[in-house]
């Protein structure tokens, strides 16, 4: 057991830190979605020019081939510097790695560079109104038509759809096959008449997500990733990449929110309040447990090659902890934390999505029960 950075890891951290000190743009502007996205696009361009954008990608594809520990260090330093994630985060974390793992040479040639530079933004068309947790029941259909496919259906919770050039789309291509086997993974061009993007307004008032309607939208044969009918396996790879390496950034975000709350408690002279002390200690313990849990998971992943189902556990820990933290802040700030548009009222409401987005807490518990504990399946 050794929790110190090796010489090369420490050198890497110093390099990242020095670069961020010179180049981090600080927090993105809040309140104006368009301005925020433009800011993050410019930030990605800067990261790309310095070679940081495709940190985890192999060097042959324009990446840095960083280890998981290095990715974790980078994300932690990035969060510490206050800079946002790059604009094309879905392309960088999911789209690119899927093309690298399952794509043809032509697809790698065509798609990878513009993902890195942020010139082409990617979104993910997985969830549907009637297929949330039970994703494999999806109904969006792709029908063969000469030289390609026509897609009809509806996706929901599609982040960045209004900015995206391409959509990682799961559609049913064989309705006779068992539900996991009839799904194909497409790269669909969003800039065409058959695609209609409508923003979805959240309880926070903003619109991070969209509904996307497809009406005979066209996608050519060469835009299938993997084999027709093999989309479910390709999608599983995507979902595993979604979490690897992002744990450290999530912990860092919680740690800085904890520090802000600590300052509020000090300003209000509440450090002696026994209830607040107990709750703050619980938060501190949860945040540190997540930090060390993430390091244990990284160590295990480096040994075994693929992220394990234990990642589900840290996702639900994170949701719980962030919800508790924002509630405690709300309790302390009282009525002033409840004005619309305020930092903590926004966080209080936004945190409610944490136990739903990226796998509901209930589905994650199912995964842990079945795949880690080996309990029998309900179905």
């Amino acid at each position: 057991m050794d929790l110190t950075l090796s010489d090369s890891e420490a050198a890497f951290r110093d390099e990242v830190r020095a670069w961020l000190e010179q180049n981090s743009p600080g927090p993105a502007p809040q309140g104006d979605d368009e301005a925020e996205f433009t800011f993050r696009r410019a930030w990605q361009k800067k990261m790309h020019e310095a070679g940081w954008a495709g940190l985890s990608w192999p060097e042959d594809y324009g990446g840095k081939g960083a280890t998981l520990i290095e990715q974790s260090i980078f994300n932690e330093e990035l969060a510490r510097s206050g800079a946002p994630l790059p604009a094309n985060v879905l392309g960088l974390v999911m789209g690119g790695p899927v093309v690298i793992a399952h794509g043809s040479e032509e697809q790698k040639e065509r798609y990878l560079d513009p993902i890195l530079s942020g010139d082409e933004i990617w979104c993910q068309g997985f969830s549907e109104p009637e297929s949330g947790s039970d994703l494999a029941s999806l109904k969006t259909r792709a029908v063969k038509s000469n030289g390609g496919w026509k897609v009809t259906g509806q996706k929901v919770w599609t982040t960045y759809a209004h900015e995206a050039k391409f959509c990682m789309l799961l559609a049913r291509t064989d309705s006779d096959a068992p539900k996991h086997k009839g799904i194909t993974y497409f790269i669909l061009d969003m800039e065409q008449p058959g695609v209609d993007v409508r923003p979805l307004r959240q309880i926070t008032g903003e619109s991070e997500f969209n509904e996307v309607f497809f009406e005979e939208a066209e996608v050519p044969d060469e835009n299938i990733v993997g084999e027709p009918g093999g989309g479910w396996q390709v999608a599983l790879t995507t979902l595993m990449f979604e979490r690897a390496g992002l744990g450290a950034a999530a912990v860092m975000g919680l740690a800085s929110a904890f520090d802000e709350l600590l300052e509020i408690i000090k300003e209000r002279d509440l450090t002696d309040d026994p209830v607040i002390r107990q709750k703050m200690a619980k938060l501190k313990i949860s945040i540190e447990a997540m930090r060390f849990g993430a390091l244990r998971a990284l160590t295990a992943t480096m040994k075994n090659g693929i992220p394990g189902p234990e990642g589900s556990l840290s996702k639900l820990q994170w949701a719980d902890t962030n919800q508790s933290l924002t509630e405690l802040a709300g309790d302390i700030l009282g009525i002033e934390a409840l004005e619309p548009g305020g930092t903590w009222s926004y966080r209080l409401l936004r945190a409610r999505a944490n136990s739903i987005e990226g796998g509901t807490t209930e589905v994650l518990k199912n995964i842990v029960a079945e795949r880690v504990l080996g309990l029998p399946k309900l179905r």
Binding site: M1, D2, L3, T4, L5, S6, E9, I69, L262, I265, K266, T271, D272, P274, I276, R277, Q278, M280, A281, K282, K284, I285, S286, E288, A289, F292, G293, L295, R296, L298, T299, A300, K303, E310, L313, L316, Q317, E362, L364, K365, N366, V368, A369, E370, V372, L373, G374, L375, P376, K377, L378
Partner: protein, 335 residues
């Protein structure tokens, strides 16, 4: 960066798991708990293997290994709920090694390392102090008039106390004399207890999961129902948080002592809370049978409750965590 046991540490843990599975089966635990006795034969065997001296320096007859190695043994002994005076003796060794004079260390550590002249120490701040496994101990570390002393059984007044955890014996011990020792907070002891509690919780989880796979109601295994399976998933979350914090704390004791106080309080707070949550959730999974004397879960549940109180409750440790995390002391500053 490597947050896992190394090969040697893994081997210690696996060896301990296998040996205790063989030599400290639940039936054996029950036999000794019902008689309120130690398993003297098992203890002798563990001492012959050098367990008692694992973290004591080689110059005093120990193996000279660190807190991580000691924590792996505590975890496995908690997993087995073994009725041996290992923990009390280990805590005495840690205290005398950390705070004792050269003379005190030469005098007591060899016997603690071999297990032939055991030690035990106060587990609460009261006087007379609560100690575990007092009978047969050669040296007892307790506060006398507010200052820590090492006393010998002949000069101590030992009043046996029975607690619900019958796998361990307890007494209140007071004295007038004794040899002064400038002992400070028992951070290493808290880490050892956190490791034991992690093992206790892991065993209760394993028992509950096994039962949930086998027990049939309404035509299927109860583990298929989300009311049960989600409870088990939460138990895993408790066990793993407890383990991450405990091994981090053990590592700081060996490698980064300036981080140890906060780490030790976090580990003991989380492990105490987790072990009680997991053992009581396990009882709920078992249902009625878990509430009967014939079910073995009771020994782990009672161990969890008592060990959770030793060297401070979860709430007391959280208050220290709050202090060290930036909220400052809740105690008035002494004049």
């Amino acid at each position: 960066m490597h947050f896992d046991l190394n090969d040697e540490q893994r081997e210690i843990k696996d060896t301990a798991r296998n040996l205790l599975a063989e030599r400290s089966k639940p039936a054996k635990v029950r036999e000794h708990a019902e008689a309120r006795s130690h398993d003297a034969e098992l203890w002798k065997g563990l001492c012959e293997l050098g367990w008692a001296g694992i973290a004591i320096p080689e110059e005093h007859g120990g193996q000279g290994l660190g807190m991580v190695e000691l924590a792996t043994l505590c975890e496995e002994l908690g997993y087995a709920c073994a009725p041996v005076p290992f923990l009390s003796n280990a805590l005495a060794g840690l205290a005398i090694e950390e705070w004792g004079s050269d003379e005190q260390r030469s005098r007591w550590l060899p016997g603690i390392a071999s297990g032939e002249a055991r030690g035990t120490v106060a587990l609460d701040p009261d006087e007379p102090a609560l100690v575990a496994d007092p009978e047969g101990a050669a040296v007892i570390g307790i506060p006398v008039g507010g200052s820590p002393r090492l006393v010998e059984p002949g000069e101590a007044k030992i009043e046996p106390v029975e607690l619900i955890d019958a796998t361990r014996s307890f007494a209140r011990v007071g004295a007038d004399g004794g040899d002064e020792v400038p002992a400070g907070p028992a951070h290493r002891g808290m880490i050892a207890l956190a490791a034991e509690l992690t093992g206790v919780a892991q065993k209760a989880l394993d028992m509950a999961v096994e039962y949930a796979r086998d027990r049939q109601q309404f035509g299927r295994a109860i583990g298929a129902y989300q009311g049960v399976s989600h409870r088990c998933a939460e138990m895993l979350y408790d066990v793993e948080e407890s383990r991450s914090l405990t091994y981090y704390a053990a590592w700081t004791a060996d490698a980064e002592p300036e981080s140890m106080p906060l780490a030790a309080h976090m580990a003991k707070a989380r492990a105490s809370e987790a072990a009680w949550a997991v053992t009581t959730n396990a009882l709920q999974v078992f249902g009625g049978i878990g509430f009967t004397w014939e079910n073995d879960l009771q020994f782990w549940l009672k161990r969890a409750r008592v060990a959770g109180e030793l060297l401070g409750t979860a709430g007391e440790h959280r208050d220290r965590v709050a202090e060290l995390a930036g909220l400052g002391s809740s105690e008035p500053v002494p004049a």
